[in-house]
């Protein structure tokens, strides 16, 4: 931690040297803390007003020496100038962000940074491994030799083989006969009945009555297609009064 080095020591004309000395602070907060330290006053008792004045003086001095100041130092300077003027106003005229409150907050920030800085130093003052205490130079190490025991039973083995065999059995497809009425059959059946049908007769009457439940739909469908086919051959006439209405059939005249 360096003291504020505003006054050029030697070689006052060498601006580089001054820049270097300004680098001693890590930002404006750090500089403020250094100014506090120089006062040798407890941070809790520090006067933010006088601190602001010192900072502004410091920045002023630096500017007089034509030092290049990083923007954030200037931002802090203008903020502190604002704070200073606000603090100097009579209480009644003080503006909304209460300047006392702002000053208190700055003080807290300084305290917090100072505390962490000190904490860092105290951490490194402890018994550090490799500096103050040392671990065993060459620990032999702990060795765990893992051995895997596989769990599998004879049943697993045989079942697996059975599984492969079953997978590889030649596959034979058996197609079962389904009860259907073929179109040819239906045409024969419908034509046979058509000779007797001089009047309009519902299609259902042409479906063979013996076709039981499993075959009923197939017989109806085939009979319908047969009726269409016979109508196309001009052997039959079809009539339907409405959509979805019953379909009537009679022999062609």
């Amino acid at each position: 931690m360096s003291e504020p080095a505003v006054e050029p020591v030697a070689g006052a004309d060498d601006p580089d040297r001054l820049t270097v000395s300004f680098d001693a602070w890590e930002g404006p907060l750090d500089l403020l803390l250094a100014l506090c330290r120089a006062q040798k006053v407890d941070l809790k008792a520090i006067s933010i007003l006088s601190l602001a004045e010192q900072y502004l003086l410091f920045i002023d001095g630096a500017e007089r020496l034509r030092l290049e100041l990083a923007a954030d130092y200037l931002v802090m300077a203008s903020w502190l100038a604002y704070l200073k003027s606000a603090l100097l106003l009579p209480k009644a005229e003080q503006k909304d962000p209460d300047p006392e409150e702002l000053a208190l907050r700055l003080q807290l920030r300084l305290q917090r940074l100072d505390a962490m800085r000190e904490a860092g130093a105290r951490l490194f003052a402890g018994d550090l491994v490799g500096r103050d205490v040392f671990l065993a130079g060459r620990p032999p190490g702990l060795h765990v030799e893992r051995q895997t025991r596989w769990r599998v039973s004879l049943f697993d083995l045989i079942q697996a083989y059975g599984g492969i065999k079953a997978r590889n059995e030649p596959v034979v497809h058996m197609v079962a006969m389904r009860p259907v009425m073929t179109l040819d059959e239906a045409i024969r059946h419908v034509s046979a009945l058509l000779g007797e049908a001089e009047e309009w007769t519902p299609l259902e009457a042409f479906v063979p009555p013996e076709s039981g439940a499993p075959m009923a739909r197939s017989a109806l469908a085939s009979s319908f297609v047969a009726a269409l086919e016979l109508a196309r051959q001009a052997k039959a006439e079809l009539r339907q009064d409405d959509i979805y209405a019953p379909l009537f059939l009679r022999g062609a005249a």
């Binding site: 930002g27 990083a70 954030d72 305290q111 940074l113 962490m116 491994v129 040392f134 065993a136 702990l142």
Partner: protein
């Protein structure tokens, strides 16, 4: 103490000596046997209290190390002390005392930007680890210290951080707003 207990104690002692890393009670149990208990570790630590070697607990892990007062004799040969930048030391202190803490919070406390390099140095040393995201807008990543940090700095737990109770009582460890307010921020990237 029974003879069986004495044997277990010896086994614990040998295991701790041989291990390349500090061991937790659970690890000792897994290695030596279920009859290992904390009292044995306390007794071992007492046995060694006055010796040149000591048994210490750090972050729940136990290891042997040389007695701190002998540092001057041992230091001569071993100069592998890490030289950390001031930025890194402060950042480490802030993480240790405020954890879990985001980068923006660290910056708010320090008043300057924290370079990526600073955190990298601390993570590389094994002292700092990412500790999840905070459920606030932006979901910032937070950082915390590791068991290795406690071990390296000779702390049994975070409660042993120097002055932590006083700092907490003074309100200096209260959660910090993430927005680095008025004071401008400058980068310390190069100096990390």
């Amino acid at each position: 103490m029974s003879e069986a207990r004495d044997q277990t104690l010896r086994a614990v002692e040998a295991t701790l000596f041989a291990s390349e890393t500090p061991l937790t009670l659970a690890q000792l149990r897994a290695h030596v046997g279920e009859d290992v208990d904390r009292d044995m570790l306390f007794r071992l630590a007492r046995d060694y209290a006055e010796r040149g070697i000591q048994l210490v607990e750090r972050a729940g892990r136990w290891h042997f190390q040389t007695a701190p007062d002998l540092a001057h004799i041992l230091r001569r040969e071993r100069e592998d002390v890490r030289r950390l930048s001031r930025a890194a030391i402060e950042t480490l202190a802030i993480i240790a005392y405020h954890e879990p803490v985001s980068r923006a919070q660290i910056e708010a406390i320090r008043g300057v930007q924290v370079g990526r390099g600073t955190l990298d140095v601390l993570m590389e040393a094994g002292w700092v680890r990412p500790a999840g995201r905070r459920e606030v807008p932006g979901r910032p990543l937070t950082y915390a210290t590791t068991a290795e940090f406690l071990m390296h700095f000779g702390l049994a737990s975070r409660r042993d951080l120097p002055g932590i109770d006083d700092l907490r009582a003074a309100g200096l460890l209260d959660p910090v707003q993430e927005d680095g307010d008025q004071s401008g921020l400058e980068s310390d990237e190069e100096r990390a």
